[in-house]
Symmetry: C2
Subunit: 347 residues, 2 copies
């Protein structure tokens, strides 16, 4: 006789069930605010070495689960492993961020591999397998990738840039190149997410971190449509795969995303009023978010009130508690503990 395995509450929410207390995880939960992360990070070589060393990547993925018992683990990796796998030179410069060899024309695209050389990402899949084996059965395992526009903006500028100006200029000036690059990323990302599901991910999140600076004429073709194609491709290949879509700054466009019924869950950034956002979305569509990460840094009554406001608003809806953006390194661990307790003890 085998005991029944505890259910994964986060997957129930993704299926459209209201679950209470809300399942909770945090974007960038395996990160620098944790001393045990900083300890591993110091031992690893480069940031990419850490991503590509399954023993270490699995260890840091599991750290916040061990410490806080979050309802989901998200694989420790980076959205730029996709251009790296495609053959673009990618480095992470300490305290500065990623640096890539810019790709700015159709000629440059020839430097990238055809298709998606999944073997380059074998360490990521091994990490997923290791985490899967070590994870409590009630904990959901999340894979992820960047949305094509966000990844393309790094590939073109060679780094993070205010309002993605270099990529936006190229989107106007050379739409054929931009389309070709986005198409390559749609294909590569779909293949990558299918492989993450096969390696043990229960669900995946697509990060459009830079959705906010696109003008309306470009938002559809460069953000919404490519994301939709990835989700459709993934679901055609792996019908059981669940998908969370996070578009930072995508406020006015969330309704389109929801209407298209592409994703299983829409993640809200911290600038959105959850009541207004939920009023615009079907009541059976799961949502995620959206506490301001800096309220978690500050703590005190504003934090309590911010958490309470979200709990009140989403009650009775399928919702995953999360931040509205990644947790920042300055966050006191005591504030995280307090937040989790408040979410889990909500009457």
């Amino acid at each position: 006789v085998t005991g029944s395995r505890p259910e994964k509450t986060l997957l129930r929410v993704l299926a459209g069930d209201p679950v209470w207390p809300l399942p909770i995880w945090l974007m960038r939960q395996a990160g620098r605010y944790l001393p045990e992360y900083r300890e591993v990070r110091a031992r690893a070589g480069s940031f990419l070495d850490l991503c590509y060393t399954p023993a270490l990547a699995a260890a840091v993925t599991l750290q916040p689960i061990r410490r806080f018992g979050f309802d989901a683990a998200i694989i420790f990796s980076d959205i730029l492993v996709v251009p790296h796998a495609l053959g673009q030179d990618v480095r992470f410069v300490e305290n500065e961020g990623p640096r890539l060899e810019p790709i700015t024309s159709e000629g440059d695209l020839k430097r990238l591999s055809e298709g998606m050389p999944l073997h380059c990402l074998a360490p990521v899949f091994e990490t997923l397998e290791r985490v899967k084996g070590a994870l409590p059965s009630e904990t959901t395992l999340l894979g992820f990738c960047g949305a094509p526009w966000t990844v393309a903006s790094y590939m073109i500028a060679g780094k993070g840039t205010p309002d993605q100006a270099p990529a936006r200029v190229i989107a106007y000036r050379d739409p054929a190149f931009m389309t070709a690059l986005i198409d390559r990323l749609v294909e590569a990302s779909t293949t990558y997410l299918v492989a993450q599901i096969d390696a043990g991910a229960d669900a995946v999140q697509i990060f459009e971190s830079f959705g906010g600076a696109l003008p309306p004429a470009l938002f559809g073709p460069l953000s919404l449509d490519p994301i939709s194609r990835i989700v459709r491709g993934l679901k055609a290949a792996r019908p059981q795969a669940k998908v969370i879509v996070f578009v930072r700054g995508g406020g006015p466009n969330l309704k389109c995303l929801a209407k298209a019924r592409i994703a299983d869950c829409i993640a809200l950034d911290w600038t959105l009023d959850p009541a207004a956002a939920l009023a615009d979305l079907p009541s059976t569509l799961a949502t995620q978010g959206n506490l301001d990460p800096l309220a978690l840094v500050a703590g005190g009554p504003p934090l309590d009130r911010g958490i309470e406001a979200i709990l009140q608003t989403v009650r009775g809806r399928p919702h995953i508690f999360n931040l509205g953006h990644g947790i920042v390194p300055e966050t006191p661990i005591a504030h995280v503990e307090r937040m989790i307790a408040q979410v889990r003890s909500a009457p």
Copy 2:
């Protein structure tokens, strides 16, 4: 017998009249994309020296009027002259941006002057008077200031910061200080705008450049309310003064701004769909914007289409053609000329 003076079309729009062809000016139109500006800039000492030397500031204010015949001149200055006048140390570091001695507590506020020492800004008023005397009578003269939240975020962090993180943390952690700082800026900005009107400005624009990263609970108290108090204070003192409010990233909140009927004109940033924005606003409320400045850099058919889309949408409404953010240094002058011709020849 005196000839009749040509009317200022931009003021007609601010009064709610649809005017065609649309009046046009560009945010940051006196700037580095103009060789004649770069020539004056090279002769001036620091950036603040340029702002505070009336002969030079007036000259660069007039340059885009002489070259393009824009319907408005906006005084050449900076939003940080307000904290500078209040006694905060402000410098502009070439290629890096502004650097201020941070103010982060109520104790630090004691370092600032009480009230608004307008005499420190005498060169700005002299510049307005000089420009007024030199401007064609059909050209509207605009003054401006930064909105309190945007200015406060610089005063607290000492520089521009991603998503105004330092100021946001303080807004949660020390609301009493934040309120006190915002109150000081409301008072100083109101006094400053009144004095700009008295020095010859026909209308003023309030720039909330950083409206996009505020969570909903802070947007009202830190952005909308302070802006409203400035506009009400200005109009109580100078009932004829017209006000344009530009909130970058304020998309979901524009409706509140419009409903409150505070401003005479709502300026739209480039990420907003003008059709959707106008549908939400009263048809007699003037709007301004909102071409993507990078479409103007790129030129070609996407620029023509972007201009045409705005023209089609705003036809029959009181609208001022402008960019959705400041013009960037890389902009080819030929593209500006082409845009002006397209706006002015629209059938």
